[in-house]
Subunit: 299 residues, 2 copies
Amino acid sequence: MSLIVVGSVALDTIETPHGRVSDALGGSAVHFALAASMLAPVRLVGQIGRDLPERALEPLRRRGVDLRGLQRKDGKTFRWSGRYSSDMNQRETVSVELNVFGQYAPEIPPAFRTSRFVFLANGSPEHQMQVLDQMRGPCFAVVDTMDHWIHSSRPVLAALFKRVQAVVVNDSEARLLSGEEFFLRAAGKILRMGPKYVIVKKGEHGAVMVGKDGTFVIPAFPTGEVRDPTGAGDTFAGGMMGYLARRGRVTSATLRRGIAYGTVLASFNVEDFGVRRVASLTLPRVEARLREFRKMLKF
Amino acid sequence: MSLIVVGSVALDTIETPHGRVSDALGGSAVHFALAASMLAPVRLVGQIGRDLPERALEPLRRRGVDLRGLQRKDGKTFRWSGRYSSDMNQRETVSVELNVFGQYAPEIPPAFRTSRFVFLANGSPEHQMQVLDQMRGPCFAVVDTMDHWIHSSRPVLAALFKRVQAVVVNDSEARLLSGEEFFLRAAGKILRMGPKYVIVKKGEHGAVMVGKDGTFVIPAFPTGEVRDPTGAGDTFAGGMMGYLARRGRVTSATLRRGIAYGTVLASFNVEDFGVRRVASLTLPRVEARLREFRKMLKF
């Protein structure tokens, strides 16, 4: 079924103890789309500037991502630069240039408006709301957010949470949103804000989903190599939503399976810089790791 | 099959944001024995002083723990006092009085020397070695240690690792032992020091076992209430070893199942102060939570 992602397309400069890349293709919508498109057709909505070379989009085109919603605007592409500490758990944002991202409200092409699965990648809650306003018919909408918006736009976020089916946050964001220290209580409070499911990403420690039909817990796939964690959260969400769109229905079982795909895809993402690893991945390779993962979890 | 634990019996004073207890029964051997004795008969070896009231040992007696190896010495019982921060992840040791613990080399009663499962709870590696020297016949020996011994007694620890079947450490100890940042590499290095299995405890993030026959990953059971994490690691080890002793053989399957029991027992342990929760627990209650946990992990 149809899956749309609205988010950032960026040029990332990333430094980790394992190396450095400059102006590499990145952004939430890109990481999401590269993962999701392994499982289902993906429609991408975002903005780029005049400076982003056409060939940089090749990885998305190769996966058949529908780029009719990717608008080239006058100005420069969103740029993000970050640096990771030696244990990869601390990330320092060196610089952010929003440029064309955030200047324009997202415009959903008419052909995309009936998408049945909608991922609102991290961005201004006002823009996320405008996306929902443009959608037609019932959809399974999932929203991601971050500390900045929780601090600056809580009322809009609260209104948004009443209109989406699921919220994806990391553990510190869950605490910030709820004021609760323990994630189970935090998740319970977020559920009471509206969504049916709360998915808490814990990075190298896995993920937890809490919903009206119970709790799902999954550890991260233990990869030996972490070279660059950038985009792992969006890759995770892409795997999850891609699987849901592939199956065409949302149940506790498809959500859990989707989160397992997301977990495995995220473990590939961190093994190399930017989108390199996921862009060159094949579905059989993902499914082989998923089988390996199942064996690791068996007791 | 016979299971022995050698470790501390202590009077703990613990302060957390949820309350405080003074001079409560604690210590590694106690937490271990209370968990393990739910699954198999346990023999405990340790020292107490004249000050520990006989009635404080009631929880152990009620579980049928064999206390013939618990020696009452002239002097005072080991005392530990600690304080937890609001997120329970930071523990500050307020005071430690070793007293009789550490003054005497452990003496294993002759009747205990053929125990088939041996847990060397955290303590001086010299004393841990002396325990192994007193054992007769083949046994499955597991050793726990801590940063203090890794810093001060690395050569003895290295010799000890060649004589045990498994090592239980937390994630920071695994890094310290191996000099490796990522736990998979850390575990690989520790395996090369001798043991067949390395079990890395990650507290609220679960545990990982790495061995020659593969990797096992398990998240923590998500409990809503964490009132006092003291003893969770020993409770975890107690559940694991208790299950192994109950089954009477060590295979990848029994180890994994044992770690699952340990994980569930640890989740009970943290729900109340000291040994309160585990001391009053029944096996059906543990197994009900284990079934609940399996449902949470299913995908």
